[in-house]
């Protein structure tokens, strides 16, 4: 154990702090999550220039070209969180597609898609899930048939986040209907403006249309818009799923939530006494705090593994499951301590924190389900982490 940072890292931290101080007026609000927000894009541009977004991506594709350094990434995340300033744009394009293209895309695909994605000009959606293919993603049926130099796509996707705003989609389709289910899938990129695409927003429990249904009727996609080879889409998709899970369950977010709840409990009163004086609420707060600390230190341990280029093993495998659950329980506590005020919603008078707690409480449930449900995570932990046997396959009738 050595939790001191060497001079190089202390200086780096000072640099980040300096940057944040200098640019604090350019930063959008934390709650500004709009994919088309001008303020966010302008901020993204500043972050890219200074290497606080796309830090380790190659310069030729619009990144900053810095050597991967898990500690510096950690310091950036910590300092942004401390300053309560938003980091770079995150979304399925930047977090999932870009790493996939870097790993498996053609040179032309990299040139064409990475830079505009990084700047936020090109917004992507992820077309994986279908009505009949959720946890069992490989059961997907949307078909793509090669006709000349185009794939013709027919079928339906569902739960497609940001599809209504997206310029492009990275999409899993079945190209070899006769191959075993994992070997018949291909990974296509195409424009959401292509004729034959219909997007129907799906309202969610938060009151917003966070995701959509997407219908494809004879959508013609140039054959060179495939990532990897025909029938290799499952492997390509799995490369991105690892990136998705890394993005869920962030311990910094949990820590800042916890601190906000402690503030609410000190500030707000019931019958004239601060909520913090209620021993039951206080006990719940501290119990969650211990879990937040445990996840924070688990994250530090993972950072060390990453700097040593070692796998995080079990410590990494549990992050999505534990982190999302913890965030959800934090939102639950915030609502409970606020009592009646906890149920205020949308633009109600007297609402606290712009209504973020109810929204978080609902949205986090979506995160527990999406990106590989809690149960799927437990399958992975038991099968890959604890080496327990898979479920026997049920014979087809």
């Amino acid at each position: 154990m050595n939790l001191d940072f060497t001079l190089e890292y202390q200086e780096f931290r000072a640099e980040v702090r300096d940057f944040l101080e200098t640019h604090k007026d350019s930063a959008p609000r934390m709650s500004d999550r709009g994919v088309r927000s001008e303020k966010r894009r302008a901020w993204q541009k500043i972050l890219l220039e200074h290497g606080y977004a796309a830090r380790t991506l190659p310069k030729e594709y619009g990144g900053h070209g810095a050597a991967p350094d898990a500690l510096k990434s950690r310091i950036i995340a910590e300092e942004f969180s401390r300053a309560k300033m938003p980091g770079g744009i995150s979304g399925q394009g930047i977090n999932m597609l870009v790493p996939t293209l870097l790993e498996l895309g053609t040179e032309e695909q990299k040139q064409k898609y990475i830079e505009p994605t990084l700047t936020g000009e090109m917004v992507w959606c992820q077309g994986y899930s279908e009505p009949g293919a959720g946890s069992d993603l490989a059961a997907l049926r949307t078909s793509a048939v090669l006709e000349g130099d185009h794939f013709v796509v027919n079928g339906q996707k569902i739960w497609t986040s940001t599809a209504a705003q997206a310029d492009m989609i990275f999409c899993l389709v079945r190209t070899e209907p006769d191959a075993p289910k994992h070997q018949g899938i291909s990974y296509l990129l195409f424009s959401m403006d292509t004729p034959g695409i219909e997007v129907r927003p799906l309202m969610t429990m938060t009151g917003q249309a966070e995701f959509n249904e997407v219908f494809f009727t004879d959508v013609r996609v140039p054959a060179d818009q495939i990532v990897g080879q025909r029938g290799e889409g499952w492997m390509v998709a799995n490369a991105t799923l690892t990136h998705e899970r890394g993005m869920l369950g962030d311990p910094d977010a949990a820590l800042s939530r916890l601190n906000s709840i402690a503030e609410i409990m000190q500030k707000e009163t019931v019958d004239g006494a601060p909520l913090m004086d209620n021993a039951v609420f206080r006990d719940r707060l501290i119990a969650l705090q211990a879990e937040v600390f445990a996840m924070k230190f688990n994250g530090m341990r993972l950072t060390t593994s990453a700097t040593q280029k070692k796998s995080g093993g079990m410590a990494g495998m549990i992050v999505k499951l534990q982190g999302c659950e913890l965030n959800h329980r934090l939102a639950e506590l915030a609502i409970d301590v606020m009592g009646e005020y906890g149920i205020l919603f949308e633009d109600s008078p007297f609402i606290r924190d712009h209504g973020m707690w109810q929204t978080a409480y609902m949205f986090d449930l979506g995160l527990i389900i999406g990106g590989g449900s809690a149960q799927i995570q437990k399958n992975i932990i038991s099968e890959r982490g604890l080496e327990m046997p898979r479920e026997p396959k049920v014979a087809k009738k």
Binding site: M1, L3, F5, M276, A315, Q322, Q377, K378
Partner: protein
């Protein structure tokens, strides 16, 4: 920044692991639990040869001068193998107290005698955490009277280091006026007693007793957490191994998803505890302003996760888990014992709230 164990720390833990793996098998634990002290003595000697008791004692007094983290790594192994050992009170808490709450002469004398092996300390600080049944010690004219409850380390102690009001005192176990009442607890691998004292001559330590007692409690909490962590880790490992082996409905029960998810839940809750424990132990020596808080966090959280694993791992074993034959209950009880000593989860969370100014 490096968040993890050093090569030396890994080696230290491995050497204790290897020794205990050979020594502390279930049959040994059973014999010890049935009251065979000779066997415990043998284990003590083996740990002595490995240098375990010296680990946490400063070099100036002839020890190895390592920190709470190393002590916690050893304690994790003792918990893992439910080893009958008074390491926590004798070579953890007592040493921590003597380091802080003494003048240089007393420190040299007492730690020197511990190193020499003619003194083994038990500790009594329960009343500094919370006094029940009106227990407590008072000091008057160099003699101590009253009751110290749940005194730890009775299996090997020749002397006791006791919190007496706002003083810290050492008594000889054989002194006049000492009455011991053995307590039977769920955990037969460790011994706690009640001490009733009547005008017992004592050595009053000449330091600041208050911080010394607090340090003892902090170190004790971290070590009890380490013990529970080690015990819980072993229970999970046993549950997974048993599930792979045991067949029902013509398949290993480990292939039933209900069983897999019980195990995944245990692993998912336990793994972050390892990092919490490392940090809490490390903080005692290196981040003193966070030491007391982190001791509370580790003790309370690992007690909760430990309890969950103790019951869930037992459940995975079916009826077998419930039997004496399997011996799983030694781990179950070890975790249950650690949970209550030096403050249960509610008490340690309350202390954490006070430390952060959330309560008074």
């Amino acid at each position: 920044m490096y968040f993890g164990l050093s090569e030396d720390q890994i080696m230290l833990q491995d050497s204790v692991r290897r020794f205990l793996e050979a020594q502390s098998e279930l049959e040994h634990v059973r014999v010890y639990a049935e009251g065979d002290d000779a066997l415990a003595g043998q284990l003590q000697n083996g740990l002595m040869e490995l240098g375990v008791p010296l680990v946490f004692i400063p070099e100036a007094q002839g020890g190895l001068g390592m920190g709470v983290l190393e002590a916690a790594l050893i304690q994790e192994m003792l918990g893992r193998f439910v080893a009958p050992s008074a390491f926590t009170p004798a070579y953890g808490m007592a040493v921590a107290g003597l380091n802080v709450g003494t003048n240089a002469d007393q420190r040299n004398v007492w730690l020197g005698r511990i190193v020499g092996g003619d003194v083994v300390m038990g500790v009594g600080v329960t009343e500094a955490v919370g006094a029940r049944e009106g227990a407590g010690l008072t000091l008057s004219a160099g003699a101590v009277s009253g009751r110290a409850s749940f005194v730890m380390g009775a299996e090997t102690a020749t002397h006791f280091l006791l919190a007496a009001g706002d003083a810290l005192v050492i008594i000889d176990r054989a002194a006049d006026g000492v009455t011991e009442t053995a307590l039977t607890t769920i955990d037969k691998t460790r011994k706690t007693i009640m001490l009733d004292l009547e005008n017992v001559t004592c050595d009053v330590l000449e330091g600041s007793a208050q911080p010394a007692v607090e340090t003892m409690i902090n170190v004790g909490r971290v070590l009890l957490a380490a013990d529970s962590f080690g015990a819980a880790e072993m229970m999970l490992q046993k549950a997974v191994a048993y599930a792979k082996d045991r067949e029902q409905f013509n398949r290993p029960i480990a292939s039933f998803q209900a069983v897999k998810h019980m195990c995944a839940d245990m692993a998912a809750r336990l793994e972050p505890c390892r990092s919490l424990l490392w940090y809490a132990a490390y903080a005692q020596d290196n981040v003193p302003e966070e030491g007391p808080l982190m001791a509370c966090m580790a003790k309370s959280h690992i007690s909760e996760v430990g309890k969950f694993i103790a019951r869930t791992a037992t459940e995975v074993h079916g009826g077998m888990g419930f039997t004496d034959l399997m011996g799983l209950h030694y781990w179950f009880k070890r975790i249950g014992f650690n949970r209550q000593l030096l403050g249960g989860p509610e008490k340690t969370r309350h202390d954490a709230a006070v430390l952060q100014g959330f309560s008074n």
